[in-house]
Amino acid sequence: MTRAEHVNKPSRKKIVRLTIRHVVLALFAAFWLIPILWLVLNAFSVDKGPNLSHFFPQAFTLDHFRNILLPGGDSVNQFPRWFMNTLIVGCFNCLISSAFVLMVAYAMSCMRFKARKPMMNVAIILNLFPGFLSMIAVYFILKEFGLTNSLTGLVIVYSAGSGLGYLIAKGFFDTISKSLREAAWIEGANEFTVFWKIILPLAKPIIVYTVINAFLAPWMDFVMASLMLNSGVSAQKTVALGLFAMVDKVNRNNYFGEFCAGGVIVSIPISILFVIMQKFYVEGITGGSVKG
């Protein structure tokens, strides 16, 4: 059989193989999508708790969305407050953490000073300790200052140690050619000008990645928030903590629909940011490491 015939008339064997390939893909896709479909279905379902006997709900309603957006004085459901709390923490963390990460990354990547290597080694060692081991002590420290169960405390917890997460940004800065900086020095620029006017504009992918990552941290985090916000007062919680309480043993049968609706609502902005971030992330690490 010549090649031309092969293209024009696909053999039977080939059609079978193509079909099998796509059926397998469809099965995998279904496996991945069914729980998500169940989330959406439950968000629109008339059932208050998880429907135990039917995959598809008997009837559809928007009640869960209305309840979660306009909760009134509900003691469990304070979704708009949680959303605002997380948004505030996210914004402040975003500002402080991104600044810290980029500052440390520039110092470690582009400058040479005596303490550089020792500091980098200390950072590696510190990163090997489980993150919330130190947070247990931080909890007691913040408690002394009355900062537990407050958003300030949470911002401090998320952003204070963020300088340690500089490695990815440093990897990116490492790939920016040194000749650019040298040219700027010859023109009489100081380090600050180089950092602000040359490196940062070139580092857009990694800045976007760092900023979105810092913004998303409080939306994704469960453990730090549950350590710091332990009063049990619903209005003080973040989205993750609040939604977690909705599906505990006591509340599950009354709030599962609201939980799903809340999950759908937070997914929308987060997924948009995530798609943007992932694009830059892949660009950042592959761009950096293929060359390095």
């Binding site: 991945w32 000073f113 002590a137 002394e144 300088g163 999950g263 892949v282 592959t286």
Partner: protein
Amino acid sequence: MSMMQQTKARGRSSGLTRAFSSVGEFFAGTAEAFRKGDIWTRLSALVCGAGFMARGQIVKGILKTLVEALVIYLIPSFIVPNLSKFGTLGTVVAQKSFDPVTRKNVWNDYDNSFLILLFSVMSLVLIIVAVVLWMKNMRAAYQVQRTQERGKHVNSFRDDLDDLLGKRFHITLLSLPTLGVVLLIIIPLIVMILIAFTNYDHDHLPPNALFTWVGLKNFRNLFNMSPESSFGYSFAKVLSWTLVWAVMATFTCFILGILMAMFINNRNTMGKRFWRTCFMVTMAVPQFVSLLLVRNFFANQGIVNTLCKNIGLTDWLFNIGAIPTANYIPFLTNPAWARPMILLINIWVGIPYQMLIATGILMNIPADLTEAARIDGANAWQSFWHITMPYIMFVMGPSLVNSVVGNINNFNVIYLLSHDVYVTQNQLMANANASEVDLLITWLFGLTQDRQNYKMASVIGILVFVVCAIITLVAFNRMIKGDKEESFQ
């Protein structure tokens, strides 16, 4: 090979010697400043700003003296009172007594062991920093003296500020992040490590009770492998599951993610974008939402169990003896089922991320490599093993080690799937607040939250560090050959 190891060993020892010699140099420099300095430089040992003010650096001198005054003020008011109690961690127990004058209950002036420990650590850090700064200050004062003696320009305050944006810009950049790390990572970490050597637990909770040093007792408790020791028994079990989990979770996601990416990117696949989007949809939902959802999905009275019951799967499994009751499949409540289920759910959560990264890398593989292999007669399998995998390993290798460490500390997946759902039937483990699906990290968390057993939690925390450190050291020593960071600038 042995040559290389020798060179490496030499390189390392010289690095260590360098570190020591630079510390030695530091001391020697301070001594030299003292020996050769004039009266003003020597006076700087007492009044830190003296040497600078004598050379016209007034503002700098005043600032340095103010910092010194602050440290001296802290010695009687903070450092001494706390450090003096460091040996006992406090002796005065809190007591409430009735004051007949004010007719109120008043507390005595009691000791809080935790605060004593915390403030002592802060004092020690402060002392070390102060001594180092003092020595640096002596050297700097001598430097200025020399500069003036040689008739060179002595920096004005303005010049110093300019330096902070120029050749000393790293100080500007690093001081705030470092302060954050020292105050909220390093000091708390030292405190938690020290707590491993105390009896800080439910019965010794400050402020109502004191705790004190107990030496290595907690470590002996954890390593006690006698059959009646609940902590020793649980530790062996939890540690082995943690390691199995970390390796399995990393490699299943890694391999399957790459295979999936290749399967979708294959030129025979139609509608690549569509399939990719199908998997990306999972990523749109935050992890804690999807995990909490899945745990209800697979609950004992959940929807999956209803469906399995309806199609007769539950009865069949019961008949072959795979499940203990005919009513439901204990997906997340029986050790034999829960562990594989958690791994499976982790694959479900993890593959889309891995696929995304792998897709990016696969697209970067130089096409001529695979093309050349095809012309040389390599089949798909050979080209996968000899070109694709080495290439991916080259790019992803270091991050693979990080994800093993990350999975050892993977709190979310285990905690959100098993908390309130999985109850251990093993009495010894239950005594130690552990369960068959716990990782070291979730065990640690549970001990602090449910039992307030901080002493054992911090012992476990130290061991998590040891495990992670060993894995990282071994892996990086094998993988990374030399420091390549500057070769591409």
